[in-house]
Amino acid sequence: MKPTDTSDPEYFHRVVDCQWACPAHTDVPEYIRLIAQGEFTDAYMVNRESNVFPGILGRVCDRPCEPACRRGRVEDKPVAICRLKRVAADLKGEFRDRLPVIPDISNGKRVACIGAGPASLTVANDLAPLGYQVTIFEALSTPGGLMRTNIPAFRLPGDILDSEIDVILDMGVELKLGHRIDSMAALLGEDWDAVFVGSGAPRGKDLQLPGREEASANIHIGIDWLESVAFEHVKEIGEKVLIIGVGNTAMDCCRSSLRLGSSDVKVMARKPRDFFKASDWELEDAEEENVEIVVNHSPKEFVLEDGRLVGMNFDQMEYQVDDDGRITDQRVIGERFIPADDVVLAIGQDNAFPWIERGLGIEFDKWDVPLVDETTFQATRPGVFFGGDSAFGPKNIIWAVEHGHQAAVSIHKYCQGEDVFGRLPVTMNLSSRKMGIHEWSYKNDYNPLERRLMPHVGLTERFRKLNIEVELGFSIEQTETEVQRCLNCDIQTAFTDQLCIECDACIDICPTDCLTITGNGPEEDLRQRLKAPADNTDQSLFVSGPLKHTARVMVKDENLCVHCGLCAERCPTAAWDMQKSRFSFPYATDEDEACRRRNLRSA
């Protein structure tokens, strides 16, 4: 293998698994260290810089960081990253003085954002400090988008949502509530410098089966029904409820049903548990509330008696699953009737743009979804940008935030007459964490503690009202423990081959056998020859240049490194050093600074 180029930010970025997995690249280890030091406001601001809504995401983020967490590979359970984010948000002090100053004089550019969800709010958050006049159009009477209408208040309280949205609105962003955009042509006819579409994926999928029309009074589309519950248009539901589908929306539907008076809620899944789309923790929370999840039942028909829904018939399924966990065959082994007073359909959602006229230069693909560039988020018509669920279909809040950041960069460059593709690169800074002969400015001891569990409101108490938040948040003791579980993957093991005397000290001391000095070879071959099996090909191998005594190479399998720094402590020549990597992901404000510098230079 060629020597690894660690000056390329991507190499060390991949080592920080959580940050690499986070669509918005939140600097997780850094904010966990700040929480450990009791610097909650600093921790909140590290979060806010990348994910904008730490209080919201600390409760309901989809947490791609957690399955990626190295701790989950070294032990069993990952660090409770999302819970710690909430700790920072719950305990933060005054932070508004740390927000960017909004210029008194606008830069004269006007940007229209459609839909007041996380994507549009992020665009506003990034552009308002640069002097843009941002106007957000929202069809409903409150901002927040799906964060408000589809996430029940017992998971995400309204006041948390309000406070984080208000921070952005207070930047001088104009919010037009109850203002549905019915015509893109009309909007484009107005005097806007750029238009951002962040209107989500607002159409819940329907299930056309026999009896659907006749029983429509008791069949509800999941996301519409949740919205009606959120706005208190729906206040009750039948005794027996079936939820069709087993994604996160289904989990919100079943738990909401319990709070609206139903006593028997079943979630009906077509496939076995391994194929569920819902996050594990959402499944756990629903099952804790005695929701029954029924697998291998494929909906067949709605059953009516006297013109009223009484239940559904299902095909009972059997699946052949191969060693890789893929379904190779399926067959129906029977039929089953399950009684129900109401049925909620939570089987997915689609984008819907009936309000965008064709012929405006905004091209659509064969599924009637607009063509959007994956880097710039620009539609085929310059000056029109998409983000959040409306760009590439339903994802989640953290993806919407990242789309918003990137769209804001594009909008800024577009409005300044620059090429939207000419974006600043990601950069990296490395700085040693060595303080003394065996002292590091981070806590490098491996702490064999188990993941803390989130305390919940009691099972009877939580059903008294619809909006009692179930999760209480970590206590101080739980926080103190959980922060010690972070492995500090951002404190990188940096190797200088010219200094190595091949004494083997690092190899002998490494607790997880990450290191090997051996002859070089192709990657597949090297992976076989290391001190411990390097089977996880998702994780990189570091390969040094030839070592000066024997021309062998130092190889490090990044997979299970616990960043304990013992290699660097045992190294007699400081060939190993522990260095903190800090990545800079360019936002609109960085593009703005770069633009100013360019203009100054040319002037």
């Binding site: 083997d504 000290a505 007699p572």
Partner: protein, 351 residues
Amino acid sequence: MSYRPKPRIAHPGLKKNALGLTRRDYEGGMSTLCAGCGHDSITAAIIQACFELAVEPHRVAKVSGIGCSSKTPAYFLSASHGFNSVHGRMPAVATGANAANRDLSYIGVSGDGDSLSIGLGQFCHAMRRNLDMLYLIENNGVYGLTKGQFSASADVGSKAKKGEVNEQPPIDPVLTALAMGGTFVARSFSGDKEQLVPLIKAGLRHKGFALIDVLSPCVTFNDHEDSTKSYAYTRQHYSPALETDFVRPAEEIMADYDAGAAMSIELHDGSRIVLRKAAPDYDPQNRGNAFAYIKDKLRDSEFLTGLLYVEETSRDMHALSNTAVRPLVDIGWDELCPGSSALPGILKRYR
């Protein structure tokens, strides 16, 4: 050194041996030697060898004298017996222990000071008795614990850290062992575990005194330019004469050997060592030739390494002394001591 013990966390894919133990189960306490010390690598090699042999830790006794080297038994096999004895007197303690319990495996760790200066007599007599033990000399050419004075193994012309030149000829432990009748004589290097681990395994299984002289650079006092025991110098003047493979009893010899250059030697327990000769004219079973060859190479400043001499048919201390087959510790007091009524009969034999 580091100020923290190695965390107990391990690679989840760590292999287990026949006893169900992992390599980590053979570790000991935290090393307090300097970072980069060759001795720590030798410790790791012992751990690896004991793991691969599936040695039962409680059937091992570790013995040592005084010096940096003699601290190391604390860093491996924490579940074994151990005795840290007086300077240079480890062979006497090991002899006593072995006399009382011949069934344990004995690992003695000594240094060039401990074995070649204060303990030279003890070292020679242990070989003369062919005491059944593995005896490792962690040889760095200096007294590291007392700030780097030359030891008895320092080469002529080697410079100390502050610049003094050594003028006295060294005592070479390998040549000494050959002269004293050593039955298993090897030399290796702390930086070459591929060679060292099979040697330790073979040494542990050899019936008799197994000496391995391990060149082990002192990073603090003897790793500079003009040192003849530095990592760089050792690698430049390192000449493997024989590559040793250790094959356990009833295990098939899997590797493909060139018939002319490979020789297989069976050990007492049925395991075999396969020696692959790098130098065709070298015979590791001819004491005189081996002595001359090694001496020639030393004159050319080359450290010949590998299993340099082996004699598996020799008798160990117990055989020479005609002692009981059962370990003395297992023999009851009544049987062990014939009592005062038998004493006159015994004394009568000497009248």
